[in-house]
Subunit: 198 residues, 2 copies
DNA sequence: CCTACCGATCGGTAGG
DNA sequence: CCTACCGATCGGTAGG
């Protein structure tokens, strides 16, 4: 079949995903301002101007990476929770922590880039990004409500503050986690043990 | 071994500190790459080239801000601990957490800039910055050792991992802390309560 | 502390 | 997906 290469997206998913893959890797390492469209284009093997065939602007590329990153962690945690349905809040909490850390450090480019860019860009966070994040935070709101109801939380503590500290601690691991020095399973176990000692 | 300059600093402290004050404020908001020497110069009220009379490069300015920021938190925590000498490990831990959060969000420009820039710059962290940070981390190593010795830590948990999670959670508050919504005292109390429920 | 200027690089556009 | 090009801006330097 003949190709309409210069007018329509030729291999729809392919190029777009390839661009995002490289963008995610570069954003993870350098953040928003250090990562340039030229770098991304060179990594992909095309010219910089060609990126504008697939995306409208640099921000659009970054936004896609960030959203995919949050979405990926979200899905992983939801799947882990589904696998532990009916288990105790403590087991479920540990499963969620483990899934979050695994998603963060396993397939890491998108998720790490997401944290890096988001933490950094205090200014103008697009609504799409906030929506994706809020959806993920809701998962933790639910989990922490379970935890509280089961008596896991000290009286007088705010569930919101717990969630903020908790996600901060987990996401902060992008600054110090080294695969050769830390095991995800152990980190998750230790983390939950801090919140509820045996 | 600073004290560069071909001639001698004219009004020694004044200008230099003024530059760093504005640099800290701008770095806090924008991070390393978004903050430009022109912005800093304009805020101070001088020409960009004049910055080179006081500092050798952009990196030198950023480095000074980061080090001052970490140093400030360090001093605040050490002072708080000195005031609670002989108190229980729990009380001392809460005092340290409170002092850390207060330093972070109170006089915030230097400390927030420090976290922002450091979290961001995965690449080349100057030795001076690492030294200042390591010195501060040692304070927490000591505190956590106390905590562990008093039986506050679950068996099988690593003090290093606790410290990393703990500082990550506290420093992550720069992303969500709002003075009108959170009280430092309450945050510190809740934080310690999470680690050792009443 | 200034004026004047530098090469390098940025995101983005024109037009095919 | 390309070549060619744009104005804007970057950190830094010359020379006073």
């Amino acid at each position: 079949m003949s190709e309409a290469a210069h007018t329509r997206p030729p291999t729809e998913g392919g190029s777009r995903r390839l661009i995002l893959d490289h963008a995610a890797r570069l954003l993870r390492g350098g953040g928003y301002h250090q990562t340039t469209l030229r770098e991304i284009a060179e990594a992909v093997g095309i010219r910089k101007a060609s990126l504008y065939y697939h995306f409208g602007s640099k921000e659009e590329i970054v936004e896609a990476v960030v959203n995919d990153g949050v979405h990926f962690v979200h899905e992983a945690v939801v799947a882990a929770l589904a696998a532990e349905e009916g288990a105790s809040p403590r087991v479920r909490l540990e499963a969620a922590v483990r899934a979050h850390l695994a998603a963060l450090h396993g397939h890491g480019d998108y998720t790490s880039a997401s944290i890096k860019v988001f933490t950094f860009g205090a200014a103008a966070v697009p609504e799409s990004v906030r929506a994706v994040r809020r959806a993920y935070e809701d998962v933790w709101r639910g989990l922490i409500a379970e935890w509280q109801q089961a008596g896991g939380m000290p009286a007088g503590n705010s569930p919101d503050v717990l969630r903020l500290f908790l996600l901060g601690a987990l996401n902060g691991s992008t600054d110090w986690y080294r695969p050769e020095r830390h095991a995800i399973d152990a980190l998750a176990r230790e983390f939950v043990a801090l919140l509820s000692p045996h």
